[in-house]
Subunit: 368 residues, 2 copies
Amino acid sequence: MQHILILGGDGYLGWPTAMYFSQRGYKVTVVDNYFRRNACTELDVGMLYPVPTLQDRAKIWHERTGLEIKVVIGDLTDPEVMRGLFNGRVSYNWAIDSEFSGIPDTVVHYAEQPSAPYSLIDYRYANITVQNNLLITNNLVWALRDFSRDTHVIHIGTMGEYGTPNIDIEEGWIDIEHKGRRDRFLFPRQASSLYHTTKIMDTDLFWFGVRMWDLKVTDLMQGPVYGIETDESEILEQRSEVRKQRSEIRDQRSEIRDQRSEIRDQRSEIRDQRSEIRDQLEDRRHLRTIFNYDEIFGTIVNRFIVQAVVGYPLTVYGKGGQTRGYLNIKDTLQCVHMSEKTPAKSGELRIFNQIMESFTANELAEKT
Amino acid sequence: MQHILILGGDGYLGWPTAMYFSQRGYKVTVVDNYFRRNACTELDVGMLYPVPTLQDRAKIWHERTGLEIKVVIGDLTDPEVMRGLFNGRVSYNWAIDSEFSGIPDTVVHYAEQPSAPYSLIDYRYANITVQNNLLITNNLVWALRDFSRDTHVIHIGTMGEYGTPNIDIEEGWIDIEHKGRRDRFLFPRQASSLYHTTKIMDTDLFWFGVRMWDLKVTDLMQGPVYGIETDESEILEQRSEVRKQRSEIRDQRSEIRDQRSEIRDQRSEIRDQRSEIRDQLEDRRHLRTIFNYDEIFGTIVNRFIVQAVVGYPLTVYGKGGQTRGYLNIKDTLQCVHMSEKTPAKSGELRIFNQIMESFTANELAEKT
């Protein structure tokens, strides 16, 4: 039985990934320190609907499927917390069987501060971003070096690491011919946010670990991921209940649309309606992923969808001409699964660019 | 009057740099948290001779020259400590005039854990290295962004960042032609220690700050620096005293050489002699720089010199075939001064490769 360890298991991708692999017969362990939830509270940006704690989600999952997802609440910037997941000193915050699951065959590393706007709010959030993202990646590299060089790491990069160079973007690597000699290098990276820059620095660390200690790393370079439901969350909701709620929302939506011109002058009313919608979506025992639609943690497609639903003008930054590749959350899970099934070799830093559809922000706004 | 701020002012390069600029009429502020001294104590690696505290050094400097070097003892991984040096909230641990010196025209950034072996001792030292080096660089970038985008940063990189690629190493940048289009990129970097990797990551952060906020940065890429005395420390020692000690050492050295074969079997005797030499060099009120000759903080030339003096076999790692460029400490100070006099422009990340002489470790051992 393959054992998969998910760092950042409470996040937007973390929890759906945990259910995905659990459903397919893997032993699954998730780790999180509720960084995202706490940041949302601190910045006073709400999520679309309340989400049960990681321990509660694991309980609900177990009740509905009989499957176990072990839960660890801990801060992975502390190297001892990271190492406990490999040397067995971990104690689970929730598990059916509290015995150590053993060294993981695969680590999915999502445990990063994932927001570009957050990383640029001010110097304090910049400091937190650098500290969180780089200490965790470094601690992971060292735990692998010391306990399990055969474990395969799947890391989520971003297409934004490449920036907008005046040459074609390649998949991670480029051959450079210079003064009659040739060598193969990482494709040059230069990003436009501090968050994206920490992902570049992650690659520096992984590439060092791969060359020195023959680690196995796959980096999935993605654009913004969108969507809420995955097969696992959908199958397990009471479908009719959800359908009922959905048609109610749809009715409200058309009602809201009729009132749009009036509503624009009455933002406070919108706020009331919005909380109504939120109340209706509020099913405290659900398995849907965390969903932000704010300016900090809400990525562009997710933000547009919610803004459209409540009749709020779509917020496009700058001229809206920036072209990005977008990816549905279900496709992300498939990318991770395919990487897991055929891991990188020893001493290989494998890089895949994952784009499904490319749009400018304005095109996207029109589609919405 | 130009104001120069030296981060890491207690270190091997920091203190000589402070005296160098003070002697030439600059306002000088030094900051340090005694990281290097504390690490030496923790790892039980001694320095060649005791060194007065930074406060004491500033006092001695003032007594002998009438010049003021302001001293701040503080940890620059704390963003508030860094910002205090720009917004005036700093309180000096030693100063003649405790009034804020104002925003610096130039920052020399030496405040890094500087040892490759230290960064690889184990996961804890790796964690400390990443945390110290990257948080400080990031805090500096944000302080400049917020308070003074015109201040020029001089950072010390290392030739080791380039690794040993199969193409010619250029000075920081390379033009890449790819599928008929061209662009200019940072020369690819891939180092062989975690310490060197943090210097690469420093460059990621600086390059981000330069592109986003038009900062001015010069990166001096050096090989290992060697030597003890600089014009400032020499001028101010009681020269005859030093000369007397030196000839004594020279006598002891030839004596020791005669006894070498015997001594090899009698390491404990050598240890006694070594401490004798140390006693003779021990002048508690001197202005020489910190000098390590151990395997952690002692760089290769400095280590060889001391090993030769005490008749201990030279320690060459591996096959000794690694070729590196070496630089005398006096040349380093001149490089820094030249960079200071003609700063980088707004939005420029300027990179100089600083090598004076290239040797393999074996050639160096033969020279010694």
